[in-house]
Symmetry: D2
Subunit: 368 residues, 4 copies
């Protein structure tokens, strides 16, 4: 019997590392979604799709615009390189397709604004940026406790994104387009700050940034400097109304991926992943006790990505709000870009309460 269940007909754009995973999630792990199409211009990705998607009834396209015309298509998951996220998202919205777009919308703030403007003109279309940590069980649990007031007022947030060192030099080339370490890595941590700090208003209002400051070093890859980037960055974001977030990102964490977060409130602290481990196994050997950690963000967040696909699907099918708000996703880019600017200029950057950049003296006046 053919299922009588209403399922969301979705396509995935881009079948690189993350795109192929999204395709699998929608195809095999999101019961209420039906992967009907996929787009990629790359030969190796087409070959992969012919072997892994086509036998399941998925149509393969090498032209994005053609794919948008696939009969009955309702939604698109944009998982191409960052530089075309915005363009594809805008096209999909204009074609009336719901969009789940990989983070970030763009590394450029004005481009983000175009996406938001397009979305605003098409209010029936759901658009969501994929900040996967918001779907991770530990972070979700921490958010519920925060909403419940268990830790009092969230006041300080510390968060880090640390990748295993990749000696191939890949991330040097990648830095040309990534927007830099604060936009590429810490964007997740910034998003968490916006999420937890807005718990006070139950998500209704975002905290307003007051100042940002960043420093960094190139410890293993001096060539990153060419792109105004570093392999270790420390950033501090001060918000109006007495909240502070501070971040660390690294491209050289030896055992693997170690992303961790502390949400510090006036009555308690919630800590996610202070003692990372891949699974529940420890080895007691003559050299000591040893455990392993995730090798990359997907090992750490696989289940969060699946949950993200499910919740996006549910939101569309049930005409609910998508769980990650677009304005917040753009604000994360704005803060990430400001941190990267601060890193490059060596200067602290100040904002007024409306979000405009001001100079130090303007800041001093704002303080009065």
């Amino acid at each position: 019997m053919a299922p009588a269940v209403r399922r969301l007909r979705i396509a995935v754009s881009g079948l690189g590392r993350m795109g192929a995973r999204h395709a699998n999630h929608f195809l095999h792990r999101t019961p209420k979604a039906e992967l009907v199409a996929a787009f990629t211009p790359a030969d190796n990705e087409i070959a992969w799709a012919k072997e892994n998607l086509e036998p399941w009834g998925v149509s393969i396209y090498t032209d994005y615009d053609e794919m948008l015309k696939h009969e009955g298509l309702e939604a698109v998951c944009v998982a191409t390189v960052t530089t075309v996220h915005a363009e594809q998202t805008i096209k999909a919205i204009e074609a009336g397709k719901h969009v789940l777009c990989e983070k970030p919308l763009s590394t450029k703030l004005d481009v983000c604004q175009q996406v938001l403007a397009t979305a605003a003109r098409n209010p029936r279309v759901k658009v969501m940026c994929g900040f996967s940590r918001r779907f991770d069980a530990s972070y979700v649990n921490a958010y519920k406790l925060t909403l419940d007031g268990v830790i009092g007022r969230p006041t300080i947030l510390r968060s880090q994104t640390c990748d295993r060192y990749d000696p191939s030099g890949f991330f040097v080339a990648y830095a040309e387009f990534s927007g830099g370490i604060f936009v590429d890595c810490n964007i997740h941590d910034i998003d968490l700050a916006l999420w937890y700090f807005s718990a006070e208003s139950r998500g209704k209002t975002l905290p307003r940034v007051k100042s940002v400051m960043a420093v960094g070093v190139t410890a293993l890859e001096p060539d990153l400097a060419k792109h105004g980037d570093v392999d270790n960055g420390v950033g501090v974001v001060e918000f109006y109304d007495a909240q502070i977030a501070y971040f660390y990102s690294s491209r050289m964490n030896p055992p693997g991926q170690h992303d961790m977060t502390e949400i510090i409130g006036t009555k308690g602290k919630l800590v996610v992943n202070a003692s990372p481990m891949t699974d529940l196994l420890e080895s007691h050997m003559s050299t000591g006790i040893q455990r392993e950690i995730s090798q990359n963000y997907y090992e750490r967040f696989e289940h969060a990505f699946v949950e993200e696909a499910r919740q996006f699907t549910d939101a569309v099918l049930e005409s609910k709000e998508v769980p990650v708000d677009l304005t917040s996703s753009m604000e994360a880019v704005r803060i990430g870009v400001a941190l990267q600017d601060s890193l490059r200029s060596g200067r602290k950057i100040f904002f007024d309460r409306e979000g405009g950049r001001v100079d130090e003296d303007g800041a001093a006046r704002a303080k009065l």
Copy 2:
């Protein structure tokens, strides 16, 4: 497009707590399986199936024999109450269907033997008993390390199965049919001992039990004594050729489910779940630092059950050996039953090298 992929047409028998989960796993989380039918005689389970399975094209049966005749059916997952596991498994085998049966095959050794005999007469049918821990990432990782010789010769295995206390008295009634705590709970730990101790022979030969001894107490539920059972049990199994396994089981672990295992070799020790936690979150509150643990075995082993469904499916589709050997599953019952006997009689039980029970003096002679 209809998928061109060859998928295993499977049915689930029994839609109680665990049966419903198996149905979901085959329906939504095992890409190469197609859940085509389900059987249950219970009204509430039928109602659940009509809402959750039928819309996906699954046929619901209230007669097990009828279900076996479902057109194109290739395999059955038996997840009914333990007392009918064997009967349904035998019927399915005789109907030429592959079987994944929930553990244990039976709490009675002679009934297990009937299942094995039936399977032996139908060598083209795959039959597997579902020992879920063998599919858990941590245990699998530990097994690989053991095979690789990292810990030398596995010599001692300690393993426990501890359930959260259920004050409803459910498990007192349940004890009438469960076979007792060593057959119901520690059967998993016994299976692990057989698995890790046979790593030496790369799974070819099982360790041979030499003696078993068990004691126990009824700390919270004195009525368990009526069924010759306890709520806390300690058992020791001695194997020929210098290997020992010792077990603990409890029905009264306050924070939740805590199953843990140590595989102790001559060069190292592997420990699974020494510091249990539900997720990666810890709360730092004025009362101290706190974390939560799984509330039941499904919270702990959900992914293992899914993996079990996938590997069973693959084994059938690709005509491979099933990953858990039936002989081993019967041996686990034999040891569990002996432990329960020892608990009840207060006596240590001895075996000769062929597996026959002998008295103490026979054991002494065997030693010479």
Copy 3:
């Protein structure tokens, strides 16, 4: 100025590894004690004493009886080889000196009884056997919580003593006199069971042993068999009134010393040292996350030994009960000896409520 404080004048007998440590503890880390004398017949220990004790005003003796006559001597810490513990303790008691004796009093039960009889005849003399774990902060904390009823009735106790493997073969020779692994290692765990299980009566009555059973293997040192000993032992002790303790001991733990204990009550469980570590340092390296553990029992229990010296000193100076009761220390030996007997005979051993050994049928009768 000379101190006006009243200090206990104590001597240490035996300056081997542990004796030298006791000497240092009384000399430098027990403010209310004054180490006035030390005895050793061994040349290397005399040399050590001349360098490390004599300059601090400690008199060195090569004759134990002479040392007992040291002017003003009030107490003796017996830290010689186990075989002379009892003899020296008896002599000291008869000379009116208080005694802190290293565990065990003796590996022979009748010899223990002689010590107790001598102590009983000299009620003004304080005699204590040094079960150091009772002075460890974690165990003390667990005991307080148990007394406070936090875990309900203590029902099951699991405890292990695991030493780092010493490839020199030392412990094979040592096994000739040690009494065997259950008397030498698990004696501590047995003592803990007696301690925690007597918390119900606030220490007034000891739990009464009902049966013991032990098995073991020689995994790395087959020559241990000559002394009826093993390098890995598992023992189970059943007490009347529904309490069970089970033990593991090993001479081959690769990373170092790992002693751990679980006290399992009807409402909660207390766990000491589930995740051992030397200090608070972890290394995150390309091979994973690593930490080290104590290399021997002294690294783990150094502060407990110091606390033991202080509490013994206080008990004498203030004429209080010593914190470890002699009867309990003898009971620990009795249980340890029975476990070792069970290991050697392969038989389960039964006791009546008065502590007499009975055969299985006697046990069956006692059950009725």
Copy 4:
């Protein structure tokens, strides 16, 4: 017999909370030191001293200058309120006494310089500032590994000092004299940065600060603002030659004291106290798994303070370098004061390579 051992005759100045502890450490836990005198002007402290020190032969003084004249006095441990640290240290040096001074020397940089100048004029006198963490086993172990090159080049240091919240308001009053949270709390973390970052030169040269930036909030104690202070502070210190340290301090950590540090190198990371716990005990209760942490810095660092006393004593007796260099201790104050200035002004502060403060444009020029 009176000891023939040469012991350092030392006095303690100030018998408040920390002074009393220092007195006990030198009296009872530093074998090679002899506490001969103590000074305090406070009645309650005199009463304490008469009960706890005088009976051990310690002379009590109510006049610091008189105490300095105590016959045979060789050294002083200054543990009074911070505001008189420098004055008493200078007097002691000029009287030819070796000095162990509690941190910080002063909250004012020019006062620190007077101490260093006095010390420079009296090169035979040993002067050391008590940065206790340098004597903690975990930090010492981490330092050895760093020296051995295990983590490559130390590049990033993260460190925090978090106190349990004291609702009495004590620390508001205290803030008037403490120098502020960066000088009072993070001074330890700053010291650690100087220590680990100078490991490259094996301690010969200190890293040179390039910029500092700090922000903070008053989450629970708004009155701190009167003293230009906060109860939560975040600071970032950038050093020339690509090293960064970042700090967090809090006065409101609910479970107790949580000081932790990460030393991140190009090949590995060392983490001290990621998972704090008081002892090795965990409770498994119906509410989850729970452990406690140190309630204050002394519970955490008691053994480090004792080790500090011993190493200072050894350095004096053996005419060795003291283990903590005075220049480094002054540099820690300089950085702490700059962070506090940055917190108050809201501005990032820049330094040239000679340590002079420069404006932003000067910094930009320095960059070229």
